[in-house]
C-alpha cells in the first residue's frame, strides 16, 4: 500500500457508518460532522434509524447508523448514493442496498472479525455476503477493526466507533487537533480515563488508515475555518425548540409522538432558561386544549405533534378558528395514513392541515424548507397567530426534524418575544369581535381586562360573541374569518424563481425537498436545460403571483413526498387520476394544468432521482 499517497481533491463525498444499534455509529458520525463543520466544510447528517426497537443483532432490519454528506459548498440535503461506507457487520448493509443507498463503486470498509467467528453459520453468511456485494459492484475492503481495537481495550464493542472516526479522519484529511477536542468534549462527563482511551482508539484508527487504506481525500473548505460569523449545528426539531424559546412562547403542551417528540425533549431540558414550561398532557386532544386555554388567557402557547396527533386535534383546532384564539401547531410530518411509517418522512399532511376540520376552518399554514427555517418560522408563526387571531400550522417533516446541518447562529432579539399581556380596562362598547370589515381583523379581550368580559363559544356567534343561529350571523362570521387570509395574502410577496423566469419546466415544491430540488435544477441548468423551480413557504394563503409565473413555462410540475397516481398506471385516466396534495391546490387555485411527480418511499427524495425524472420529461 502506498503510505505517502497524495490526497485526492474532491468537491464532495457521502459517507455512511452502519452497524447494529448500540455500537456508537451515530456518535462517531455526529462527531465527524461537527469536526467537518468546524473546519469549514458544508455538512448534512441524517440518522439511519432501525425499523424495530430491539432488532436482533446482525439483521438487515437492525441497520442503525448515520449518513454524512460533506462538501466544499453549502449542503442542503442528504444526496444520492454513498461513496464510502463503514460497516460493523455485513448483514446491516442489505437494508441499505435495498433503499438504493449505494452504487457500483461504493467503497465498503467492512469489519472482518466475522470471518473467524466461532459460529460456522456466521462465517458462511459473511463470506457469501462479501461475494455478493462484490458481484454487485461494491468495492469491499475487509478491515480488522476488532483486532486493532483489542490491542487497546478488552471491550472493543464500546470503542470501535472511535477507531472508525479515526479512520475517516485520515481518509478525509480531518484536523486531528479538532478531533481530539471533540472527543474530549463528547466524553467529558465520563472522566479522564475514558477520554484517554477514546483518544488512543481515535489515533489508532487514524494511523491504521494511514498505513493500510489507499483512499485519501481533501475536500476544499466552504468557509474559513473557525470563521468569525458564528454557526450553530442542530437538527430541525432542536431548531424548532430554539424557535419556541426565541419567540417568547410561555408553554409547550404536547403528547409523545414520533418523530416530533424530540423537539419537546430538547425543550424539557432547557425551557426553564427562558421561564417556559413543557406540559405533557394525557393525550393529543388535551395537549391542544391545554395550549388553547393558556393562549385564551393571554399566555402564548404551542403544541407540537405529527400526523396522527394532528388528526386527533382537529376539533380543537376548529374551535380555535371559530373563536379566533391564537395558537401555533407544529407538525413534524411522518408517513401515513394511520400509524404508517412513524420514523420516516412524508409530506402527507398538507390537505389535512388545510381542510382537516368539518365546516369551513380557514387558518394559516406555513412550511419550513430548511433546518434554519424551522427556527425562524416558529417566531413568524407566533406573530401571525396573534396578529391574525388564528391558529397557525407550521409543517416540517422527519427529514428536517432529524437532519443536522450548520447554519448562521441567530441572535436573540427582544422584538421576537411575545409582548406582556394587556390588563388595562377594555374600551367600553367595543365588542369582543370588533371585526374590521375589510380585513376581518379584531383585537381580543384578555382575561383580566375589566370591562372585556365575554363568553367565548364554539357556536356560531355575533361580534358580541352571542350565540346566533340566524343565517346572517353565521355567514358574516365565516366571511370575517376567511377575510383574514385575504388580508394576509395582500402582504405576501411572489415566490422567488430559482433560475430563469421562463422555460420548459417549472418545478414547484414545498417543505424539506428544497435542497434536493434545487440541486437537481442547478445541474440541469448547468447542462443548458430550461428548468427553473419555486418553493412555497405559505400554503394558506398561497403566495401571490403563481398564475403569472406559471404562464411563462411550458410545463408546471410539483415534486412532493406524498401519494399520487402515476398518469400511466392501470385504470388511471385524466378523469380519475389523484394528484399530489400541492398539485391539487395549485390546480384549483390557478386553473393551470399542473402535473405532479411523487413517491411515498418514506425517504427524502434524492436529487439524482429528481434529475433523472426531469431529463425524462425534457426528452418527451
Amino acid at each position: 500500500m502506498s503510505k505517502t499517497k497524495q490526497a485526492v481533491r474532491i468537491d464532495e463525498h457521502i459517507i455512511e457508518i452502519v452497524s447494529d444499534s448500540g455500537e456508537g455509529a451515530q456518535k462517531a458520525g455526529q462527531t465527524f460532522g461537527t469536526i467537518s463543520a468546524k473546519m469549514g466544510n458544508g455538512v448534512w447528517t441524517v440518522e439511519i434509524i432501525p425499523a424495530e426497537i430491539k432488532p436482533p443483532a446482525r439483521s438487515p432490519a437492525g441497520a442503525s447508523g448515520i449518513r454524512i454528506r460533506l462538501g466544499s459548498h453549502y449542503i442542503t440535503n442528504m444526496g444520492n448514493a454513498a461513496d464510502i461506507v463503514v460497516a460493523l457487520n455485513e448483514q446491516v448493509l442489505y437494508s441499505r442496498i435495498a433503499t438504493h443507498a449505494y452504487k457500483r463503486g461504493t467503497v465498503v470498509l467492512l469489519e472482518n472479525k466475522w470471518l473467524t467467528d466461532p459460529n460456522p453459520e456466521i462465517i458462511k453468511q459473511y463470506q457469501s455476503a462479501v461475494a455478493e456485494f462484490r458481484e454487485n459492484g461494491l468495492v469491499v475492503l475487509e478491515v480488522p477493526m476488532e483486532v486493532e481495537c483489542l490491542k487497546l481495550t478488552p471491550r472493543p464493542r464500546l470503542g470501535k466507533n472511535m477507531f472508525v472516526l479515526g479512520m475517516l479522519n485520515h481518509i478525509y484529511s480531518r484536523d486531528m487537533e479538532k478531533a481530539y477536542r471533540e472527543v474530549a468534549f463528547t466524553f467529558q462527563r465520563k472522566g479522564q480515563k475514558v477520554i484517554d482511551l477514546n483518544h488512543k482508539l481515535l489515533q489508532a484508527g487514524y494511523d491504521f488508515a494511514k498505513e493500510n487504506i489507499d483512499y485519501h481525500y481533501d475536500i476544499p473548505l466552504w468557509r474559513e475555518p473557525d470563521s468569525k460569523d458564528p454557526l450553530i449545528v442542530t437538527n430541525g426539531n432542536q431548531a424548532m425548540g430554539l424557535g419556541v424559546m426565541a419567540s417568547g412562547m410561555d408553554l409547550v403542551s404536547m403528547y409523545p409522538i414520533t418523530p416530533a417528540t424530540s423537539a419537546s425533549h430538547y425543550l424539557a431540558d432547557v425551557y426553564h432558561q427562558v421561564g417556559g414550561f413543557v406540559h405533557q398532557a394525557e393525550d393529543e386532544i388535551a395537549a391542544v386544549g391545554f395550549a388553547i386555554g393558556s393562549s385564551y388567557a393571554g399566555k402564548t402557547a404551542c403544541t407540537i405533534t405529527s400526523g396522527p396527533g394532528l388528526a386527533l386535534k382537529t376539533e380543537f383546532i376548529a374551535l380555535a378558528v371559530m373563536a379566533e384564539i391564537p395558537l401555533v401547531i407544529g407538525v413534524v410530518q411522518r408517513g401515513g395514513p394511520s400509524t404508517g411509517l412513524p420514523t420516516k418522512v412524508e409530506q402527507g399532511d398538507l390537505l389535512a392541515s388545510l381542510y382537516g376540520e368539518p365546516g369551513d376552518a380557514p387558518k394559516i399554514v406555513i412550511a419550513a424548507s430548511t433546518i434554519e427555517e424551522c427556527f425562524h418560522f416558529v417566531i413568524m408563526a407566533r406573530k401571525l397567530a396573534e396578529t391574525f387571531r388564528t391558529p397557525v400550522i407550521l409543517l416540517t417533516d422527519a427529514n428536517l426534524g432529524t437532519g443536522v446541518q450548520p447554519y448562521p447562529r441567530p441572535d436573540a432579539k427582544a422584538e421576537w418575544l411575545a409582548a406582556p399581556i394587556d390588563q388595562s380596562p377594555w374600551e367600553k362598547d367595543v365588542p369582543p369581535f370588533d371585526w374590521n370589515e375589510e380585513t376581518g381583523l379584531s383585537s381580543r379581550p384578555i382575561v383580566g381586562q375589566p370591562g372585556g368580559e365575554f363568553v367565548l363559544t364554539g357556536l356560531a356567534h355575533t361580534k358580541q360573541s352571542k350565540v346566533a343561529y340566524d343565517r346572517d350571523s353565521n355567514q358574516r362570521g365565516c366571511n370575517m374569518r376567511s377575510r383574514k387570509l385575504a388580508a394576509l395574502y395582500g402582504t405576501l410577496k411572489a415566490p422567488e424563481i430559482h433560475g430563469e423566469s421562463e422555460g420548459d419546466i417549472l418545478v414547484v415544491g414545498w417543505g424539506s425537498t428544497l435542497g434536493a430540488i434545487e440541486e437537481a435544477v442547478d445541474q440541469l441548468q448547468n447542462e443548458g436545460h430550461k428548468v427553473s423551480s419555486i418553493h412555497l413557504r405559505f400554503l394558506s394563503p398561497l403566495e401571490p403571483g403563481l398564475k403569472e409565473i406559471f404562464s411563462k413555462f411550458k410545463n408546471i410540475l410539483t415534486i412532493e413526498i406524498n401519494y399520487s397516481d402515476e398518469a400511466d398506471a392501470p385504470l388511471i385516466t385524466s378523469g380519475n387520476r389523484r394528484y399530489t396534495q400541492l398539485a391539487m391546490i395549485l390546480r384549483a387555485q390557478t386553473l393551470v394544468d399542473v402535473d405532479c411527480w411523487s413517491n411515498v418511499h418514506g425517504q427524502p427524495i434524492q436529487p439524482g432521482l429528481i434529475y433523472d425524472e426531469l431529463i425524462r420529461r425534457l426528452k418527451n
Binding site: 461537527t34 463543520a37 468546524k38 458564528p230 454557526l231 450553530i232 442542530t234 430554539l242 424559546m245 417568547g248 410561555d250 408553554l251 403542551s253 432547557v270 426553564h272 432558561q273 427562558v274 421561564g275 417556559g276 414550561f277 406540559h279 398532557a281 394525557e282 393525550d283 386532544i285 388535551a286 395537549a287 386544549g289 391545554f290 395550549a291 388553547i292 386555554g293 393558556s294 385564551y296 388567557a297 393571554g298 402557547a301 376539533e315 380543537f316 374551535l319 450548520p406 441572535d411 436573540a412 432579539k413 427582544a414 418575544l417 379581550p445 382575561v447 383580566g448 381586562q449 375589566p450 370591562g451 372585556g452 368580559e453 365575554f454 363568553v455 367565548l456 363559544t457 364554539g458 352571542k466
Partner: protein
C-alpha cells in the same frame, strides 16, 4: 354589604360587586331544571367572596350544564364536548391568579371527557369543578349516560339501560392526588351553597358531584330522592360541610365522617343508596400543578434573551 365590622368601622371597597355583576344572559334552561339553582349559588359565592369578574373564568364543555358561562357576567369559555378540563387547566397553567370554575355534566365529564377527568384530578390545579349529574343526556334528548341507573329507559336503550352505572365517587377517590370530593343535591339550597363554597375555598381541584333534577328526561330519579330523604345519607363532621342545626331534620340518615379518612370515604361512596351528601374526602396538602407550570412566568426580557443565547451557544461550532 360594605363590610360592617364588629367595631362599627366601615370598610368601603373601591369596587363592590353586586349579584348583577355576575349575571350574563338570561338563563334558558327548562323550568324546574336544577341548573338554575346551581347558577344562583355560584353567583352568590362570587358576590360573597367579591371575586373581580374580570379575574374569574367560567369554563364548560357541551351539554345543558355547559350553558352556565353564558349566564355569568365573568369571562367565559364554552368549548367542546368533554374538553372543559384541559382548557381550564391550560388557563390556570400560566395564570394561577385567575379564579377558574368548571361547569360540566355526567356525559361531558364522565363519558366523553373521562380521560381528562382522571388526569385533571392528578394535576390537582386549583379550580372548582361542578358536575351537573342528572343521570341522562339532556341537550341531545334522553340518551343513556354513564350514571344512568341499570334498567332506566332512554332513547338509546328503550328496553332499559343494560350496563351498571359508573360510580363517579369511587372512581374519583381511586385517582392519585385526589384532594376534594363532595356530593350535594340541587334542591337543598343551603347544602348546595355550603358545599360549593367549601369547594371554592379549597386550594386544589375540588370536584362536586351535584345530583341534579332534569324535570324533562329523568324526573322520577331525582323525585324519588326528593320524596324519600331516607335515600340520602348526610355526612357530618366539624371538618366537613357546615350544616345548620335546623337543616338536620330533613335528613333521617346521618353519619359522622372525617373527610381525611380515605378508606371510610371509599366505603361510604361504594353504596349508591342511600346516596351520600357532604364532603367525602379532603386533603388540603396535595401540591397544585400550577405551582410548577407557572414557574418563570414573570421572567424579564433581559433574562429571557440571556437564556436563549445560552441555549444557542450550546450548538455553536
Amino acid at each position: 354589604m360594605f363590610g360592617l365590622k364588629a367595631d362599627w368601622s366601615v370598610d368601603i371597597k373601591e369596587r363592590y360587586f353586586a349579584l348583577g355583576d355576575y349575571a350574563g344572559g338570561e338563563a334558558r334552561w327548562c323550568p324546574g331544571c336544577g341548573d338554575h339553582a346551581v347558577l344562583t349559588v355560584v353567583q352568590r359565592i362570587c358576590r360573597d367572596n367579591q371575586l373581580p369578574p374580570e379575574m374569574t373564568v367560567a369554563v364548560s364543555g357541551i351539554g345543558c350544564s355547559s350553558r352556565l358561562p353564558h349566564y355569568m357576567g365573568t369571562y367565559g369559555f364554552h368549548g367542546l364536548h368533554g374538553r372543559a378540563l384541559p382548557v381550564a387547566c391550560g388557563i390556570k397553567s400560566r395564570r394561577p391568579e385567575l379564579d377558574v370554575w368548571v361547569a360540566t355534566g355526567d356525559g361531558d365529564c364522565y363519558s366523553i371527557g373521562a380521560g381528562h377527568w382522571l388526569h385533571a384530578v392528578r394535576y390537582n390545579m386549583n379550580m372548582t369543578v361542578l358536575v351537573f349529574d342528572n343521570n341522562i343526556y339532556g341537550l341531545t334528548k334522553k340518551q343513556t349516560s354513564p350514571t344512568t341507573p341499570l334498567g332506566f329507559k332512554s332513547n338509546t336503550h328503550p328496553q332499559g339501560a343494560i350496563l351498571a352505572p359508573l360510580n363517579p365517587l369511587t372512581a374519583t377517590l381511586g385517582i392519585s392526588n385526589v384532594s376534594f370530593l363532595a356530593q350535594t343535591v340541587d334542591w337543598n339550597p343551603a347544602h348546595l351553597y355550603a358545599t360549593i363554597k367549601a369547594a371554592h375555598a379549597h386550594k386544589g381541584f375540588s370536584l362536586v358531584n351535584i345530583i341534579q333534577r332534569c324535570p324533562v328526561f329523568s324526573e322520577q330519579l331525582s323525585k324519588d330522592l326528593q320524596d324519600n330523604p331516607s335515600k340520602l345519607l348526610l355526612l357530618t363532621h366539624e371538618n366537613g360541610i357546615p350544616i345548620e342545626e335546623k337543616l338536620l331534620r330533613f335528613f333521617p340518615n346521618t353519619q359522622e365522617h372525617d373527610p381525611s379518612n380515605m378508606s371510610e370515604a371509599y366505603d361510604i361512596a361504594t353504596n349508591l343508596s342511600p346516596a351520600p351528601i357532604g364532603l367525602l374526602y379532603h386533603d388540603p396538602e396535595v401540591p397544585c400543578y400550577e405551582e410548577l407550570s407557572s414557574m418563570g412566568n414573570n421572567m424579564g426580557v433581559e433574562d429571557k434573551l440571556a437564556g436563549i443565547n445560552a441555549a444557542l451557544d450550546q450548538f455553536a461550532v
